[in-house]
Amino acid sequence: MENKLREIQLRVMQSIEEARQSANLEQIRVSILGKKGELTGLLRGMGKLPPEERPKMGQLVNDVRAAIEEKLEARAAELKEKEKAARLESEAIDVTLPGPERGAGSLHPMNIALQKMIEIFVGMGYEAVEGPEVEFDHYNFELLNIPKNHPARDAQDTFYVDDNIVLRTHTSPVQARIMTTRKPPIRVICPGRVYRADEADATHSPVFHQMEGLVIDENITMGDLKGTLDEFARQMFGEGIRTRFRPSFFPFTEPSAEVDLTCANCRGEGCRMCKGTGWIEVLGAGMVNPRVLEMCGIDSTKYSGFAFGMGVERMALLKYNIPNLRYLYENDLRFLTQYR
């Protein structure tokens, strides 16, 4: 019997070693250790042994059983590991294969620029407000110190609906509406669509967007205007972008300034984009003309303020290096999908 046991142990150990799949191991386990298994059978046959041999043989059978079980377990773990490795290997895919086509979607680049602009000023404590696009001449021109038949109107070729109603030529009428209805302190930005009777070309569009800003408070200086626009330039175009103020004329500001930004393309070195000057003209600004304040019912001896206005398309063109303003209104998906 002992020999028989040794023979079983040897044979089983051998076949466990040779098993290639977890399932084989299970077969082995059943055939040896199962209810009808060989070893179980041997154990059952113990009754035929003389009683004094029984403990020894019992011990032996248990040892063999334990050895087989241990081996089975070890081999099972080994095989499982192997099988997992094989499965993982077989599951390898071509990661360079493009995924199923799915539209990513995007905002229009003009609005991407506008949202960024709004965000910058909201962060500086401005309220973003809107107003009508079809507007009274009174708000669009007269309250802004541009009376009827004033040549300053030439600079803004205007679409008329009737004698007193125009398509607003700038978002300044929103400022006029705010100034006539609110008391200082005022700190607003006015984004929106504006209209000028210009034929569309690489730099003009009869419909475009502006964002103007207005601050009215006590002791506001032109330095505050410059500081504000410097901060805007930094956040919009990056560190190292500064403003340069040049004297100019707008009927609703005094003093007025044309504001240049460091050319973001060459960072001021001078390149083709900035015609070698290192500066790009981007916006108009100035201290609100006291006449405008008075016309809007604000005490100009107590309050001062600044205003600025910028073209959103112009910002988008500069920020995204768009070569032609027409791109923005042609809605060519080959262009739009570049922003996804």
């Binding site: 979607g105 309220e127 973003a128 079809v134 009869p206 003093p255 809605n331």
Partner: protein
């Protein structure tokens, strides 16, 4: 305004390059468009002397000339001009010369004879007739002066000067003149401006009144009228310096009298007019408003019909010119003009502008009057013209002048505060420095005490009114580069976007998340595009805000719907070969006001457009449904909508009986009208103004379920016409409180079901929040559902 540097330098020292000067002017507020040179259109053209001129042996019109061009040897040049002759001084373009129009001169052979260059005519050099005597005549240019051969012809013609092209802003009409700019330059460069002393030498007998009569009948529209007479006029070319200045300023030289009026206009800013006095009827000039319907033919030969708002220059009977805009034909200066009446007047800005606009005329003169011409200096300008007559010896200036100036301009003066100016500009400029700057600008300023600047503005500075104006003068001269960069010291204010902007941004973000691209279209469209939508005649969308002066028909009315622009966008992309796309536009539509003179209503609108790919009706329906869901809104849907949608594939979505969206496939006829072919287009229109107030506040979460759910499938057979979604709504209603979810999972059509029938299968999930549902409860609910489907839709349980 183009100004030759030489002309400016007559009155102010400019000791730097034109570019540096231009940059100094720009940084102090006088914009410069560019710096050019006259005569840049050609080079290597020199004075040549024709030593001999013989006929070309192989030609009936060419000549072979030996021309001394200042070199060691004379050059042989073949010339075809009939006026070439021995001894003539000519303009010779040498080998390698560049001429206008991209012409390059090369030595070569003409009909077998060597030619080392070309003898030029005026047009070949693109120099105007009038710049040099006879330059406009047939043939090559003859140079009459004794100039050494080899001299650059630019010297002879007075070319090669730097021309500064100033862009004068609307507030500084005084700078639309050489004197004004010289004055401004002197302030910028801290130099002196030297104006010529104006002295007129009068000659002859009698005074103005003996020669002519002026009657100003409207001295409001014509606040000043000055006139003088010149007799014994000898019309001829003006001197070289004057021609050179005029040409540099972009004005064609004509003859001495006309040139004097143009020269004075450019130099002083005062438009002038010269009348041939003998052609002025009764030698009487009347300044009056036109009669309604009065006819007038202007110098350019155009006939105009006038109205009573227009100011005219007339004789005793008829209008002869438009005051300050354009003269008439009759009294034009001609070669035999013998006596001249010079007019120098001031006309009211707005009136001048309105008249010029109405008649569609824009002249140098009208442009100046509408920007503002200072009446105070009119007589000075007129005398400058007479002084030039003396200088040019082209006539006798009659003693005396006519001057009607009933209400001379009052001198404006203000007190400004140094400290307030400093606060405004954010720069601390000492009072003395301000005083000095302002005086340099000819603003007569005295610093009184420490803080008060007493400023007296010169008459021509019509833009100066208040302390803010003074602050700008100080700052621009002191230098804008001194402005510090500070952030305001003020109360903190909350920054935020208004509710509508936030809402619109959320709508856009949701659509972008669903893979749509935002497009931008013009707000104005063609009324024809609305026609293409096949709307009923009385549809409100046919009533649009109309522009009075559109750029063209395609942009002439404000949009009442975003759909036409969307369809054009789709068509454009299909034309570009882009086969599919998902687009949206969020913009305004404009509804005309019911009362005239009121502003239109501006509606916040959204349009979705989808084409190509595997898109169908349900793609666009899902987009709308999901968008509404973002705002906590569920809508009911029914087949309905505008005729521009496919009759069987269109729907409107309502919330509480109010339409919030319309959607569907575009009708093939409408698609065709918009040049869309080969692809179906799906459109949705969402009324954002209606959606925004429906948004439900997020009030808290439902507790997570504690008890198990059960699922039951049900398949029913119904008529084809029954809406699967409508049945779903009925299931929801019938199942009651314990319904957790219902999903449609199969629609089957087959012979076994019979024609016009379909089987629709739903998976129904039931759950109670407080207990495990019993079989009995579940069966009851399912029976109710089946019964509801049966009674409402005739549905039978599928066998």
């Amino acid at each position: 305004m183009k100004v030759p540097m030489k002309w400016l330098k007559e009155y102010v020292d400019i000791d730097m390059s034109a570019e540096e000067y231009a940059s100094r002017m720009v940084m102090t507020g006088t914009a410069v468009e560019g710096v050019d040179k006259t005569g840049e259109q050609f080079d290597k053209v020199v004075v040549g002397k024709v030593l001999s001129c013989v006929d070309h042996p192989n030609s009936d019109h060419l000549h072979i000339c030996m021309v001394d061009v200042g070199g060691e040897e004379p050059l042989q040049i073949v010339c075809g001009a009939p006026n070439v002759h021995e001894g003539m001084r000519v303009a010779a373009a040498l080998d390698g010369a560049h001429l206008p129009g991209g012409v390059k001169i090369k030595k070569g052979k003409m009909r077998g004879e060597v030619s080392m260059g070309m003898l030029c005519s005026g047009p070949e050099l693109d120099v105007p007739a009038g710049l040099y005597p006879h330059i406009g005549d047939e043939g090559i240019i003859e140079i009459f002066e004794d100039v050494a051969p080899g001299t650059d012809v630019k010297e002879v013609f007075g070319l090669g000067d730097d021309i500064i092209d100033f862009e004068i802003l609307a507030n500084r009409p005084d700078c639309l003149s050489v004197w004004g700019l010289a004055r401004e330059s002197s302030a910028v460069l801290e130099n002196h401006f030297v104006m010529p002393e104006i002295a007129v030498e009068e000659k002859g007998t009698g005074t103005f009144d003996d020669y002519a009569k002026v009657k100003v009948l409207d001295d409001v529209t014509c606040p000043r009228y000055c006139a003088r007479i010149v007799t014994n006029v000898k019309i001829g070319p003006s001197p070289k310096w004057m021609r050179e200045y005029l040409y540099g300023a972009g004005v064609r030289p004509i003859n001495n009298i006309v040139d004097i009026t143009n020269f004075v206009m450019l130099e002083t800013g005062h438009p002038m007019h010269a009348f041939d006095l003998s052609k002025v009827k009764d030698q009487t000039i009347v300044v009056r408003r036109a009669k309604a319907g009065e006819h007038l033919t202007t110098l350019d030969g155009k006939e105009h019909v006038l109205d009573e708002s227009m100011l005219v220059i007339a004789d005793n009977e008829n209008a002869t010119g438009l005051a300050g805009i354009m003269g008439g034909e009759e009294s034009e200066i001609v070669n035999d003009t013998a006596s001249v009446l010079f007019e120098c007047a001031a006309f009211e800005r707005a009136n001048n502008r309105v008249t010029a606009r109405k008649l569609g005329i824009r002249t140098e003169s009208s442009g100046r009057f509408e920007k503002g011409v200072c009446p105070d200096t009119a007589m000075e300008a007129l005398n400058r013209a007479c002084m030039l007559v003396n200088m040019l010896e082209c006539g006798d200036v009659v003693p005396g002048a006519y001057d009607n100036y009933p209400r001379p301009q009052e001198t404006k003066e203000i007190d400004a505060s140094v400290s307030r100016i400093c606060r405004r500009i954010g720069v601390n400029v000492p009072g003395e420095v301000m005083e000095d700057i302002l005086n340099r600008l000819y603003i007569d300023t005295t610093l009184v005490g420490e803080d008060t600047l007493h400023c007296v503005f010169p008459a021509y500075r019509q833009d100066m009114e208040n302390e803010a104006d003074v602050s700008e003068e100080v700052l621009r001269m002191y230098g804008y580069d001194h402005i510090p960069s500070t952030l305001m010291n003020a109360v903190t204010m909350p920054g935020y976007r208004n509710e509508k902007l936030v809402f619109n941004d959320r709508v856009k973000a949701a659509l972008v998340g669903m893979g749509l691209y935002e497009v931008l279209n013009y707000s104005f469209i063609s009324p024809k595009w609305i026609d293409k939508l096949n709307l009923p005649e009385d549809d409100a969308r046919r009533n649009a805000v109309v522009l009075r002066n559109p750029l063209g028909e395609d942009t002439s009315v404000m949009r009442t719907s975003l759909v036409p622009s969307m369809l054009n966008t789709v068509a454009a992309n299909l034309n570009r070969g882009i086969g599919e796309g998902m687009l949206f536009e969020l913009s305004k539509t404009f509804v005309p006001a019911e009362t005239a003179g009121e502003l239109p209503a501006e509606r916040n609108a959204l349009c979705v457009g989808i084409f190509g790919g595997d898109a169908d009706f349900y793609t666009v329906k899902n987009i709308v449904t999901w968008l509404l869901a973002k705002f906590g809104v569920t809508a009911t849907i029914a087949t309905a909508g505008d005729a521009y949608y496919h009759p069987g594939r269109k729907a409107v979505m309502d919330v509480e009986g109010k339409q919030i969206a319309a959607l569907g496939e575009i009708h093939p006829d409408v698609a065709e009208a918009f040049d869309i072919s080969g692809k179906r287009v799906y459109v949705a229109e969402i009324d954002l103004d209606a959606l925004r107030p429906l948004e439900k506040d997020f009030y808290g979460v439902k507790p997570l379920p504690k008890f198990p759910a059960v699922s039951r499938d049900i398949a029913v057979v119904v008529d084809e016409a029954v809406g699967a979604g409508t049945m779903m709504d009925a299931i929801r209603k019938a199942a009651g409180k314990t319904l957790e979810d219902v999903k449609l999972f199969d629609i089957y059509r087959g012979d076994k079901l019979g024609k016009g029938k379909k089987s629709v299968a739903y998976a129904i999930t039931l759950r109670a929040a407080d207990r495990t549902l019993t079989d009995e409860e579940i069966n009851n609910t399912m029976e109710k559902v089946l019964k509801a489907l049966n009674t409402q839709f005739g549905a039978e349980l599928r066998a």
